[in-house]
Symmetry: C2
Subunit: 640 residues, 2 copies
């Protein structure tokens, strides 16, 4: 027996067997519903509303508020189809259109997104195939001038031709090797046309570039076919600089010591070379064929990548060596690409707002819209942009790497063995957790920390200040080396055979991190005489950002209490923006315009920021009225 399920508001119908899990029906209809647990009944995210028809809702109710239950809410993954149904997928359960981009590897969507942003396949580096008249005794101009003439004929303005020394040395041989049929890579800086490379024969179809995102914690590389924009391969790795310090400040300090700068430079270049080599080998493309790289990263990372002393970034008045870097050659930096390759770094705005953010805004397109948006890149740092098509302000809220595990006793990055979801039983204080890779846990990652903080707070394990309430008398509460702590996983549950705990020190660090982010938002808004009510959209970017459960993040007061449909997850916008700029020179220019337009606000010297920060050192905030849904949830829990 088949049942027809009609999903609203999409008005898409699908026929399924009796007793089918509704979650599968959603997928069968080609629709998406949020889920962190993949439909295992653990995360409670796949809420749908049964508008009409019969279902078996199972234990669904345990994840729902009384209010929700009354209104027909059910978890899709725990609900079985029993008749024809009309089902609404509410906004809060919808996979945001751009959510999938977060993986950074869905090429078709990326190319589409680039096109939507006005981009096209017109890179800074052009390639042209030339059939040159061979020299004769009557037409005996030099090779270089002959090439100039051929470029002129081909429609380029080669009156100010330039060519790298190494290239000039190869020129006579390549021209003859190709029997005067060659392919030339050229690019222009104002009126100067530079020949970047030259290949015998027709090499129009073999243009490769790379987009690189140098994060404080992770580095991502895309190897790109420049002729069609295809991502040939992606690779990512933890930034090996991590061993020299978790955040930009410790890295800068490290750079000023002994051989530190060179070491950090070598580590970043080494990471990128390893990935480029791996991608090249896997795809049978010599790395020397890569002649254009666009690099995005925070200002400090770019300094370290180039080996430029970042010390003045750290000292007041916080001055980087450059924000708009000149073009630098592959060889100078030590990248194993075409030695003449051009490295372009996405324009930085200030010492603590880098090219990753101009890349991010480029991807978000908030700089073109009428509506006012907040953009936040939650990585190792937290950079915020507020604005619309008329104005843009930006700030760095130095949240610190707590959510990446730094300063948290059992903190770790989001990798196998990390607790990523936590649920605390309000009665027994027992803990349910989900571990990445479905293995025994070894620690807890950012999303798990947010969950822990939210669950502990909502269930009264900690108070508004994040202090553990010993008085509730749970066996999980105990006194450890650094004061009170709460056991998340018992010895037998843990991979390392030791209890995994969260300490009051951890809690304090997490609260300070989330407070910095929220205070950043508030300060930027107050600078513009605005409130959160004026925000039409809040874009969340960054590797970590995509794993955030918005509701939980609101619960702890890290994100403002806005309707869920105002949040948009963009994924790693740094690499995406670098990819856009790599392929489309117009978008690269646009990123420069964005960086120029952004007004940087230095929060560290802002009195208002300190006030906002102190107010945000509570769960969710000193002013609970600013968090009505949290307030409601607390009231609901008190009642139940």
């Amino acid at each position: 027996m088949k049942h027809k399920i009609t999903f609203m508001p999409d008005n898409v119908a699908v026929n399924v067997d009796d007793d089918t899990i509704l979650f599968k029906a959603v997928k069968a209809a080609g629709l998406y519903v949020l889920s962190s647990c993949g439909g295992k009944g653990n995360c409670g995210k796949c809420k749908v509303v049964i508008k009409e028809g019969k279902t078996d809702t199972g234990k669904s109710r345990s994840f729902l508020s009384v209010e929700e239950a009354k209104r027909g809410y059910a978890l899709a993954c725990l609900t079985r189809v029993k008749s024809n149904l009309t089902v609404e997928i509410p906004p809060e359960s919808r996979m945001q259109a751009k959510h999938k981009i977060a993986t950074g590897a869905n090429m078709e969507e990326l190319i589409k997104l680039m096109q939507q942003a006005g981009g096209c396949l017109e890179s800074r580096i052009n390639r042209v195939y030339l059939e040159i008249d061979p020299p004769t005794i009557d037409d005996n101009i030099a090779d270089y001038e002959r090439l100039r003439r051929a470029l002129d004929k081909a429609g380029f303005d080669a009156s100010h031709l330039h060519m790298n020394y190494m290239m000039l040395i190869e020129l006579p041989h390549v021209l003859r090797e190709g029997n005067w049929k060659v392919t030339v890579s050229v690019f222009s800086i104002t009126a100067v046309l530079e020949v970047l490379d030259i290949f015998p024969g027709n090499a129009i179809r073999t243009r490769y570039g790379a987009a690189v995102d140098i994060g404080t914690t992770t580095i991502v590389v895309y190897l790109v076919d420049m002729t069609n924009g295809h991502i040939i391969g992606t690779a990512s790795t933890y930034n090996s600089q991590v061993k020299c310090g978790d955040d930009v400040i410790t890295r800068i300090v490290y750079a000023t010591e002994r051989n530190g700068l060179k070491e950090l430079h070598d580590l970043a270049v080494g990471n990128i070379n390893t990935m480029l080599t791996e991608l090249s080998e896997k795809n049978n493309i010599p790395p020397s064929m890569i002649d254009y790289l666009v690099v995005a990263g925070n200002t400090t990372m770019i300094h370290l990548f180039y080996g430029i002393d970042p010390q003045y970034i750290r000292e007041e008045p916080y001055i980087p060596a450059a924000t708009f870097f000149p073009l630098i050659r592959g060889k100078s930096v030590g990248l194993q690409v075409d030695p003449r390759a051009i490295i372009y770094s996405m324009p930085n705005v200030a010492s603590y707002v880098g090219g990753d953010i101009s890349a991010g805004v480029l991807v978000s397109q908030i700089h073109k819209q009428d509506q006012v948006s907040l953009f936040i890149d939650i990585g190792t740092n937290g950079e915020i942009v507020l604005g619309n098509k008329d104005w843009l302000v930006t700030a760095a809220c130095s949240a610190g790497p707590a959510f990446e595990g730094s300063g948290i006793k059992f903190g770790m990055r989001a990798m196998e063995g990390a607790i990523e979801e936590v649920e605390i039983n309000p009665k027994t204080y027992d803990v349910n957790f989900r571990v990445i890779g479905d293995v025994k846990p070894i620690g807890i990652c950012g999303s798990g920390m947010i969950d822990t903080l939210a669950e502990m707070y909502l269930n009264g394990v900690i108070d508004q200040k994040g202090k553990i309430r010993e008085e509730i008398g749970s066996k999980r509460i105990r006194r450890g080396e650094s004061g009170l702590e709460y056991v998340l996983a018992w010895r037998v549950e843990s991979a390392s055979n030791k209890e995994i705990v969260i300490t009051e020190v951890d809690l304090d660090n997490l609260i300070r991190a989330k407070a910095a982010i929220y205070a950043g938002f508030s300060t930027l808004l107050s600078q513009m005489n605005m409130t959160f009510a004026d925000i039409d959209k809040l874009c969340i970017a960054g590797g970590f950002g995509r794993y955030i459960d918005v509701e939980r993040a609101i619960t702890i007061g890290m994100l403002p209490d806005l309707p869920v449909d105002k949040f948009q997850f963009l994924g790693n916008t740094s690499i995406m923006g670098a990819y856009f700029a790599l392929l489309c020179d117009r978008l690269r220019h646009e990123a420069e315009e964005i960086a120029r337009r952004m007004t940087y606000i230095e929060l560290s010297v802002s009195r208002s920021f300190m006030d906002e920060y102190l107010s945000a050192l509570f769960l969710p905030h000193t002013d609970l009225n600013a968090f009505p849904t949290v307030k409601k949830e607390l009231e609901y829990r008190k009642k139940s």
Copy 2:
């Protein structure tokens, strides 16, 4: 008793004692009269005309034609003052105004000459002293952007600023070291403004550049104070590449073998580095302060200097890698100067007419004059330019390095121990010679060879074809390993205690060399439907050129039989032109215009050249009527 000597046409008078040698009186009057022997009565060049008064003319007559004797000619160095005199210094005896420049070291004259050519002290590289606003928390733009803003304020268009990677790395430190007062070296390529260097404090007064002439045989360097054009020091050396071959062709062959190209490159760079280091040390200027070099040389030398394979220069259709080379950095080439230093090479015209010739024309200024001039640079090759302000044609006559000693049994360069002047007694066939450094001879240099050839011919030791006339029965004529030879110096006269001879093979080589030069002249003229009668000026450039005795060179048919006052000795115009271009960017542009305007004629495939060459394989020429003064001299000698 004093006599008043009035010199005409200068109308300069001087009082001298009775019996004073007239040659000394000329000097005392501050005037010049030609002399190769320095006033010893050997060269017969210091002819003056006694218009009025009594003299003792001594043996003066032996150097004079009957005609001259009749008209009152006398040799100044053999004439004693016996009363008040009126003396004319005829044009043929005048030191050409520019003769002294030949040494290339008379700075005042060089600067004056540059100014006459329209030059000024506006080099391609500018230096500007900037007092930059230090950063504050409210004005916290990056160092690079701060510098850009300061340059903009100082009146530069820095909207397209560029900076070398190495420079960028130093930037933050230099700015702070100089306490935000810095001096910046900048230069422009079209709209791009490049910061070449930056110094703490005011360094406006320490700009150094170098002009370099890379000849096939010799290399000359000027170290120049760019602030006032002063030549701080000059150095010259034989090109160490000589051991790899005497002329460009053998060098090219050498370059294509094994490691030959690198070796030749290293030798040239090594020579220049040695001289730059020596000059820098002597003048207490760190070589790293030299940030601009202008290099002139023939096309092959420039290829070898840069390490660019010259092989296609030698193979038909004779194509160089470049004629207008792109700018190349000091570091790329391996010069021990500022690693960011710009190396500019004077524009080449074709494979066998190089930047030394565009430099030469620039110095000669023939490209601006109404009158038609011939320009010849007699070095290891012989390059010729014919033209005026409306047109310029050029050719290389591949004279070969015979006059530099190559292929001549006792040939040597013009250094100590070289026979530089030769006189043969028409009766006894005895030889009088003058040796550079007044030592015992070890060989014979170019001017000595010309003298020898001329004297042997005029005195009937050889016939018109250069064959030794055994029948005259001189003990100096004998049969050696390679046939007949003529003894110039006996064993006892020679430093090496062996006879110095000139062989028939030597004579043949010399005749072929001089024939190539003359045929070059004739071919260029016939291309333009002109004859020697149309030539208003014949400029002789080149290291060797300046030691040529014009009359002797006419005698052997190397130079055309034009009135002596049409000859102008310019000296080493290659280094002079490089110096002009170094100091004045307008003149550098002018040299490029010159190179563009010159039409290159490839003599090696010219039928007409072959004809002219064959006709010139006689002394002085098949057509003796083209050499009336030689014809007259021969007739005069026959009579006496």
